[in-house]
Symmetry: D2
Subunit: 237 residues, 4 copies
Amino acid sequence: MINVTIWNEFKHERNSKNVRKVYPEGIHKAIGSFLDSDDINITYATLDMESCGLTDEVINNTDVLFWWGHMAHNEVPDEIVTKVHDAVLKGMGLIVLHSGHESKIFKSMLGTACNLRWRDNDRERVWCVNPGHPIAAGIPESFELPQEEMYGEPFGIPNPDDIIFMGWFAGGEVFRSGCTFTRGCGRIFYFQPGHEEYPIYYNENVQKILKNAVKWAAPTRKLDSLACVHAAEKPEK
Amino acid sequence: MINVTIWNEFKHERNSKNVRKVYPEGIHKAIGSFLDSDDINITYATLDMESCGLTDEVINNTDVLFWWGHMAHNEVPDEIVTKVHDAVLKGMGLIVLHSGHESKIFKSMLGTACNLRWRDNDRERVWCVNPGHPIAAGIPESFELPQEEMYGEPFGIPNPDDIIFMGWFAGGEVFRSGCTFTRGCGRIFYFQPGHEEYPIYYNENVQKILKNAVKWAAPTRKLDSLACVHAAEKPEK
Amino acid sequence: MINVTIWNEFKHERNSKNVRKVYPEGIHKAIGSFLDSDDINITYATLDMESCGLTDEVINNTDVLFWWGHMAHNEVPDEIVTKVHDAVLKGMGLIVLHSGHESKIFKSMLGTACNLRWRDNDRERVWCVNPGHPIAAGIPESFELPQEEMYGEPFGIPNPDDIIFMGWFAGGEVFRSGCTFTRGCGRIFYFQPGHEEYPIYYNENVQKILKNAVKWAAPTRKLDSLACVHAAEKPEK
Amino acid sequence: MINVTIWNEFKHERNSKNVRKVYPEGIHKAIGSFLDSDDINITYATLDMESCGLTDEVINNTDVLFWWGHMAHNEVPDEIVTKVHDAVLKGMGLIVLHSGHESKIFKSMLGTACNLRWRDNDRERVWCVNPGHPIAAGIPESFELPQEEMYGEPFGIPNPDDIIFMGWFAGGEVFRSGCTFTRGCGRIFYFQPGHEEYPIYYNENVQKILKNAVKWAAPTRKLDSLACVHAAEKPEK
């Protein structure tokens, strides 16, 4: 059983009729509905909940955390970010979606600005450049997203462990659209597609990718502590 | 002083009037003419020369080796490839151009098939995705090559140390167009632009990139041996 | 079900009474006996068998291949090495043990000399430096091997994807004792402990590591071809 | 000309007679005295100076920043850390020494806890595991530090770009003692030796390593901005 928590800012869906049409119950519920299966246990968390829905109990019981945010990154308290950060280092998987590239949690995990070029309303062809990676299982060589926000290079991230997907945009840009990082015992997957105005999370390839990512990001070990250890006793006597 | 050897298969230029029009003295001479400077010493080597122009003396005196080949990869004797391979591991820099992705030397350095998708006569926009890398010094955020052969992902290479350039093709593909590898003490740069029918090596950004690459790939140390060492004496007595 | 083939040179066990005492049925059988479980199907292959036991049928049906060799690396025909190499690029996992660092298959996968320092009869403490990696599941922070051949740095390998174990030797050296590589769709794990004269493969941590490695290296996809693809049709019409 | 700023907490030297004996003018001055050369311009900065000696002017004019801190990490204001952090992303080189592994700046650049095992008063043998790296130029295969604080694995850092040095400790531990990271346009080198009570910075190999590191870390480009760019105009019309 993998305990998945899906965090969503959940603002666009309430502020915009267009977004609500695409995701009437919120992006988090759309993601939860295709992830749902016998071996996955889903919790939803949104910005408006107490502690953003990320109480110590929720964090401690989460194996993999999804993060969708955009307009309200700064409303997430630093204290929550620190708790999530530590949980990732101790082993919790983290899947950061689309505009989450500018979230506090993503930037603090990577230590970079995570800046990029962007333009609304483009068309993307997602290329699978690492077909042997577990997150790419069952994904074709390429697939199209008829409408997607353009995110273009240079993308201000450290070199990823693996680049799995690269995006081609009709407007003329390219992007490292799917890539992985390891920080402490935590596995992190960033996936660029997922603009709130387009039905990206109904695309079957996107769904397959995120299902694969959950399995890949689930921890094999959780650390108790991140503190330095005074090894007063030498192993060699 | 950096000793640069430019190896060119030098077949297309003799077989095709079109290619000869673009590179009347051969691709190697075109590259040599823009590299030429007070602190670079250039040697030319071609397939038709004795030992492919890569005698022990030439190899031993080379700091950075360029490699352009395409239709005659298999005519390069394995014995020469082995010598070049060992020289790279000992510290010689290697710059592999365009269709050199399928050369024996590139495939043996990387251990992979280096396969890709291709299609002639496309248009490429080269994006600089790693502006801080020494090979990217002075290169704009992107530049266009009005005509270039399309090379598309998936590209069968191990994860590079750094990806410096990514290519966008009008036909719909993307590519890791400039990337680096380290093997032993040798620094390797692969650069995708450079089709024989188009004046790629007259492009000022391409020229700047290759000049930067020479400096970057020049060895800081050359090893004497690649053999295992029997450390009969323990450092700890 | 994971199909595992365990290849062993199987010479030391027949030539040396001391080795035979430790591994009376051969190193391959010792490994097979602790790997054996309901979801793993084991095939044994040795140098003296026809095609080294690695017929096309065996290779095609192998998900993960173990490789133990030492004194007879050169007796493995190049043709077999090429077949194994291609199978790894297409997705087969490869686990290279101890003196296999100088095998043809390991050197051709990595493209480097894989040279190192060595000295017989030392004592090793294996440190787990990447506790979150699936191969490290259940492994303590460190464990000792009272007798092991010393393998010391510098180790002539490309930068690994991940370093999971580092070895400390009483004689004064260090080593990257457990590390992973990806080549094509194939996942490769190199593990240094395993000298033929010592009962390394009876150590419970070593056994756990190799069991973990089998699961980690099992392919999620196998490619049909490693050839370049002529993408005559543009995705963009 | 490379502008180097050497930041030192400068507390131990004032609080402890023992440390003062080793570094009478402070660790920063000891480092500055061997770095000093015609093509390097040195500025000193310490915790007790206004803005920790890191005014906007100093930061803007720094190509490479050294960082030595230990007991007073928390006295460096977050605002200064943020400025230094941004400067690194824009291209400034950063060399973090010894106990600086727990500095705010190092942890925020890497996004991890940078935790480790430690024990005072051990003996270290530093192995050069990457002899071709520019930072290793002129450094022997190994060298000894008769007294050094033990820093042992697991070290809570992301996978480095390159591991150049690995430490063997007489007490039984190993460590990735010299490693590099790239964040944005900034090159980062972490070097473990440098405990305040021992004359580490008088060791000629340590001095050579740090001189090499300055050249390696000097920027080839400095960015103006770390902001996202609204690319309102498509490159493709």
